[in-house]
Symmetry: D2
Subunit: 338 residues, 4 copies
Amino acid sequence: MTQRAPLRVAVIGTGKMGADHVRRIEEVVSGARVSAVVDVDAERAKAVAARVDGCTAYTDAATALAAADVDAVLIASSGPAHEAALVAALERDLPVLCEKPLAPDSASALRVLEAERKLGHRRVQVGFMRRYDAEYMKLKSLLETGQLGRPLMVHNRHRNAASPPFFTSDMLVSDSVAHETDVTRWLLGQEITAVTVLRPRPSANAPEDLQDPQFVVFETDGGAVVDVEIFVNCGFGYQVQAEVVCERGTARIGDGHAMVTNMAGRWGGTISQDFIDRFADAYDRELQVWVDATRRGEVTGPSTWDGYAAAAVCEAGVRALNEGGRVEVELVERPPLY
Amino acid sequence: MTQRAPLRVAVIGTGKMGADHVRRIEEVVSGARVSAVVDVDAERAKAVAARVDGCTAYTDAATALAAADVDAVLIASSGPAHEAALVAALERDLPVLCEKPLAPDSASALRVLEAERKLGHRRVQVGFMRRYDAEYMKLKSLLETGQLGRPLMVHNRHRNAASPPFFTSDMLVSDSVAHETDVTRWLLGQEITAVTVLRPRPSANAPEDLQDPQFVVFETDGGAVVDVEIFVNCGFGYQVQAEVVCERGTARIGDGHAMVTNMAGRWGGTISQDFIDRFADAYDRELQVWVDATRRGEVTGPSTWDGYAAAAVCEAGVRALNEGGRVEVELVERPPLY
Amino acid sequence: MTQRAPLRVAVIGTGKMGADHVRRIEEVVSGARVSAVVDVDAERAKAVAARVDGCTAYTDAATALAAADVDAVLIASSGPAHEAALVAALERDLPVLCEKPLAPDSASALRVLEAERKLGHRRVQVGFMRRYDAEYMKLKSLLETGQLGRPLMVHNRHRNAASPPFFTSDMLVSDSVAHETDVTRWLLGQEITAVTVLRPRPSANAPEDLQDPQFVVFETDGGAVVDVEIFVNCGFGYQVQAEVVCERGTARIGDGHAMVTNMAGRWGGTISQDFIDRFADAYDRELQVWVDATRRGEVTGPSTWDGYAAAAVCEAGVRALNEGGRVEVELVERPPLY
Amino acid sequence: MTQRAPLRVAVIGTGKMGADHVRRIEEVVSGARVSAVVDVDAERAKAVAARVDGCTAYTDAATALAAADVDAVLIASSGPAHEAALVAALERDLPVLCEKPLAPDSASALRVLEAERKLGHRRVQVGFMRRYDAEYMKLKSLLETGQLGRPLMVHNRHRNAASPPFFTSDMLVSDSVAHETDVTRWLLGQEITAVTVLRPRPSANAPEDLQDPQFVVFETDGGAVVDVEIFVNCGFGYQVQAEVVCERGTARIGDGHAMVTNMAGRWGGTISQDFIDRFADAYDRELQVWVDATRRGEVTGPSTWDGYAAAAVCEAGVRALNEGGRVEVELVERPPLY
């Protein structure tokens, strides 16, 4: 039997994602509560804390993690701030759920990996929430049955209605395709060994100087070829699709056919308009699974190694985008812990 | 701000549905815990209670409801036991979530209605969980926008792979079509005024003497015509579909196209095999919404009136099945409370 | 080997359907040509004949059928004119393809039946073109394999964007549902024994006094229950769908998913806007099959009996619409010829 | 008005494709007949000719083309024999429909191009039948409306259940992807400028030493990136799909959802098992359109230039497959005739 007492979580970062996780812990998830929130913006931290019974606001992560009523940490601050928070949590041997990316670059990710390796056991889960999406889970389950045979290729589509103003061409790879990086490694159980990026002539609807769309090709150490269409100004909505082509069949997810209407000369349905809508259930499930595992004293989700490998692939991808041609991915040797 | 303390729920009935609700409250829902379970089978009650920290087993509902640590009641016992439990809960002014049917017949439902009317405020929610299914919710939302115009017809399909041994021809109407009864009233906001049941020659795969399938036609006080195919030994799975035909378009749910495979000469996907799988999310959402509303002191779901009307329509349907022809539905006057 | 010489066809009626059939024989079908056209409107007949090499215009059917260069007859005049043309063709023992309906009422159809019975062999094919639609043909083939078991129910949808000005409430049954009458008999190989028509409150988009939509229920001598939604002012397009529910599975046609677009927040496709577009291939195939069979000296399509039975069912349907309740269908004894 | 007399066609090559075209001209197409068949196998030619009224068998193409009763030529012999037959037809200024490929290599194609250029007007249509497939035609029409904006990417899937014994790794490009070569050029109205071929680890179900599947990427002079999955031993059927991604939306064809069944725990439909089944209507339409245009004295289909460009792209593709990396396509200057 799991302990009755709820898991007391410190949430670091109270921006859009952090505030949404606070809401999720308080109103959706069973067996957890938010006991601390941390933000360098003291007013924002206080405002969020005020909405939660028994929650303290901090501006410093280390102080929050030292509090007696903190059992676990959820990191939702900006990427560059992750490393310090992760190391602080590992120093106190606290379980962590860290939003993606684990770290802004592979060097930073390696330092976190080293900190956890020294600790000697896994404490960190990276927030690759697609692993908790019902459709991706079905796809993974089907592949594991082996009835389709070995996977040979994966075709991915990743489309956003419009990109935010700060988005750069590099970010299509490092921020968006980062998800397919993890999905590829997780679905196939293989490492990505090379990346090629093709550059279609940009859409007139993309901001000036933004290379949008891009067409990314991964090769894996298991001999699979994986392509990703990333198009962040497609105009019509948020759409994530994947088709795995195996030796005896294919499986495709992401068509999302819940309600079909006939109206005004057309049949069909609506397309999600943002990732929070599309992956709301995945975020809920990710957090519930993390809370349940943490209360049992386990770590079950994507690991620090997964976060590091994604960072290394994305770095190679950005080089491939900017330099052209095929860029090989170099990984350090995988520690036995992972 | 909602109170921090979790809602303490007494679950009456620890059979399959009851035990599943206990699990849901403990492991899925936020803000509630099971403080009491009740079953005439003392061993079964004790076994379920033993799995939950701080939960007491009872064999008598009245004693359980009198306990200091019970804030609300979830009734999941068999239909004939509902009335006594509902009346006991209303006497103590406790919020109730009662599994469908509200009562085994309209006379019993009327007595519960009268008890709540005397209490002077609504306390009972009936467990018509389809109202919490994401697809039905989308359908309802679309209808409410008015963009399709007025609903004229609804076509429903309700299919089970196989019926349990105790299932009778009457139960296809009173137990299965009961759901479409509520769906019709809820989607259209209209009362059902007449029922006709057609009897296709039964499937060779149905148990002997079971009239399966049946084809049920409702007429409503808003002039809509609603048909329901009920087929409880269809062999291939559990499938619930609805298409609403309006003046300017139609909308259909229940095709469920999450993952599509190509394999062995066929494209397509799997069909749910039971209602718990198909409506798992709806049950989760129903319970979370009920817990949230109850903690705010509100009742938001299907009412005692909805439970009574469904019972009255099902009674007319059973008569239509057995006597042939069109049977009109007689309802008492709707009390102002509803 | 089929004879080299093309079949010389007289087309009676040069309105929209007739002119389209002339075009089809001349430009689409292999092995036939139009040698005569007949229309009471001499100018119209001449105009059509002028577009075809070696084609003579007539105003009188009997004269045309007596011409030396006429091997077969296609009747596309208005319904009330069919009987005379059919009898004239049978007197000359000419093969006939007669557009639906065979005759305006069952009494007229019976007289044609009697004329062909006296002739002693089949010469008439009725233009129920859905039997030549690729999807309906697949459905029929699947049913005939027996892998789904015995058919228990059929659900039909028949929707037009808008009805022509002359359309009456009776015509929804006698003109539109006439197709489902034949489809039901053909798919199931059973006769329809009773008809019930339900009347939803009419759409505000239907012309005043038109009972649109209607919901029609057939019962068959094989114990099947068949429903037809007929809605001739649905606004969004022309849509014909059928789902056959059998003992071990169901099969559905008419969703028409050829091209799927993502655009403006929606996925989906276009809906046909009229029956000529939807059934163009069926008309082409019907005519080619008739030409081929006729050149081999055979009659393979829907018979005079099929035309008579459809007329009788439609008459019962119109009575059911106007009088309410369930109306039984009375057929004469089926002659051994059919 | 088109002349009444049917077009008299000489069919060169009476193997599987040739015999099927003879049947099509005789039994399906309007306005044409087979007056001559040619095959180096005299017995085979005689056998086919015997099934057609008024048809002469030849073993030599030049003799057949000199016959008085030959108006046009359909070439369905093996690729290496095309050039001689094409040149012979052009010398006699006869209209030609030549099965794909136009020629076995770009040098041969160039010689045909030169022969037609000297003749001074177009006479040759290449048998890229996908341009006559209803779905591809819809896709092309949609792109031409401009409502989706400029095409940026095309994703193609080309799958066969199993490859014939003689199939080589090069033929996946030169024989199969040849179709996507033409589809890309036709849909986009752009020339292909570079080809890259990725080599997934081959399927265990592919014959030994066959590089199957392959993943081919085209770049075009309009800045589009086009990918093609070619997998000729996928096991489950014949499947051709294309999705065009444009600035404001995407359009996908090839899902083929005509009939949907629910059976044995699955919903879905069947997959075509070969290209003749999938593209039967396209072949029929191609031939009818060619006959109609030829009788009007026109050439409307894919030209000799299209055949040459496809050959040049395929040659670059085969080099890319065997040498790795990105190979640029070199085309001669386009003559004004095309």
